[in-house]
Amino acid sequence: MIARALAFFTRLLTGGTPRWRGCLPEQKQRIYFANHTSNLDLVLLWSALPSSIRCRTRPVGARDYWSFGIRGMLAKDVFNAVLIERKQVTRSSNPLAPMLDALRAGDSLIIFPEGTRGPGAEIAEFKPGLYHLAKGHPGIEFVPVFIENLSRVLPKGEILPVPILCSVNFGTPLHLEPGESKPDFLTRARAAIVSLQPPQ
């Protein structure tokens, strides 16, 4: 119910048109990785997926942000989020472990490999987690997703959203090539998102 209401509200503000440009919405285990500019990214990407796929897809979020109050409730009951440490990383709280567990259970993931929200147009360098996931699960499709315009709906630091039309663009899936190095894979993954950007 809450999930539907949230998806409806986000659609009302943003249109939220999904555009499947490089693949189709299929019932496959996948990792969707996207640019990150707004707190609504997660809601928009998640509501752009058909509900049959959505229920097996878990967003990855930072434990320090998604643990308390309303956010905690949303993360747990609505999104079924995979929460990872980004502050006190120790051997016992390896951020990769919960993601690998979720993949082993057969779920798909939504991940924002920049790690934090950027100011808008620029896409920051990717954190290495994506590469480690690809190495651990070479069979999984990595789907690049470019979320257009959402930074204008709710920029970092603002509380009130503004209605602007957005689109969620799904590109052609990638895999880790045999022998591909970490920086090469991360650069290629980032370029896949950049290539989905409309020409300015």
């Binding site: 249109g15 048109t17 808008g120 209605p163 602007i164």
Partner: protein, 317 residues
């Protein structure tokens, strides 16, 4: 609830036109052979289907009365403004200004219509919102392209909210001897305006496809041709004149007003296309299948509505 028998007759006419259009597009679909023709017909079919939905929404709203009509136009303004602002490269510093435009100025403007505070309805956006927008953006402190950004938000509010709202404002007029004792008759004035605007667009499209050769402004809109404009404009003028019995106008006055609506509507389409070309897009949005966005459908109405409203107000009430 407005079950004015003449309004129902008008709806009957629309029903007839839509059934005819659906039959024609079904026949064309069965006959078309070329690849290019198939695309045109596919677009025609989705346009016609969308017309059914839009006509049903519009008829329901004006039948339900003032509040439903205002709500429908307020939503149309909201969607059109959303499309306009999306296309406009605003900056981070405009965020709070935009929040005001969408969630305070727009509802406030429709509220002045709802309580029929004519003085404020006419002034709120062109004077007070016009002053407020640069004030709010200046507070945000971003000076880059300041004038350009400010004007674009002002333009969006004027076209998508202010001009468009003159269509439902017809509901509030009092035409002595006609609608002063029967305010429900004003629904027919809105019908007249919207029908002439839209039939003019459709007829210009049809005439343009049938015999359009010389584009009026080739660089801007190659599909708007002299032949399409003259044929479509004359047809729409005749249609408007033929509806005189449902209005307070004489047959000639009805045709004359229809001609004014046609010309203003034509320029509305042209100006709003110029903005699209400048931004390098074909449509403002994709909410209405076959038509594009809401703004693509109401652009001509936005330009025709205030002129029609003021002529009727000065000459008839």
């Amino acid at each position: 609830m407005n079950l004015d028998p003449d309004l129902l007759k008008l709806f009957g006419g629309i029903l007839g036109i839509l059934v005819t259009a659906s039959i024609i597009s079904a026949v064309l679909k069965a006959r078309v052979t070329s690849e290019k023709g198939r695309k045109v017909v596919e677009n025609l079919v989705s346009r016609t289907n969308a017309w059914w939905v839009m006509a049903a929404l519009f008829a329901t709203a004006i039948t339900l009365g003032k509040s439903a009509t205002l709500l429908m136009f307020a939503l149309a303004s909201f969607f059109a403004l959303r499309e306009f602002i999306t296309l406009t490269p605003t900056r981070r510093g405009d965020h709070r200004t935009l929040f005001w435009a969408f969630f305070i100025i727009l509802p406030l403007h429709y509220w002045t219509l709802w309580i029929w505070w004519y003085g404020l309805f006419v002034l709120l956006i062109p004077v007070y919102a016009y002053l407020f927008i640069p004030m709010r953006s200046a507070l945000a402190g971003d000076t880059e392209r300041f004038l350009e950004r400010t004007s674009k938000v002002q333009w969006g509010l004027m076209v998508a909210v202010y001009f468009l709202s003159y269509a439902p404002a017809l509901m509030m007029l009092e035409v002595p001897g006609w609608s002063d004792e029967h305010p429900e008759r004003n629904a027919r004035l809105i019908f007249f305006l919207v029908f002439v605007v839209q039939i003019s667009d459709v007829m210009q499209y049809v005439w343009g496809k049938l015999c359009g050769k010389r584009p009026i402004v080739p660089k801007l809109s190659p599909n708007k041709t002299v032949e399409g404009f003259i044929g479509g404009g004359l047809s729409a003028t005749l249609f408007g004149g033929a509806l005189w019995w449902a209005t307070p106008f004489s047959p000639f006055a009805a045709a004359g007003l229809a001609a004014v609506i046609v010309v203003m509507g034509f320029f509305g389409g042209l100006v709003m296309s110029a903005i699209k070309r400048d931004r390098g897009v074909k449509d403002y949005g994709d909410l209405i299948p076959g038509h594009g966005g809401v703004m693509d459908r109401v652009d001509s109405l936005c330009f025709a509505a205030p002129v029609f409203f003021h002529i009727v107000r000065w000459a008839y009430s």
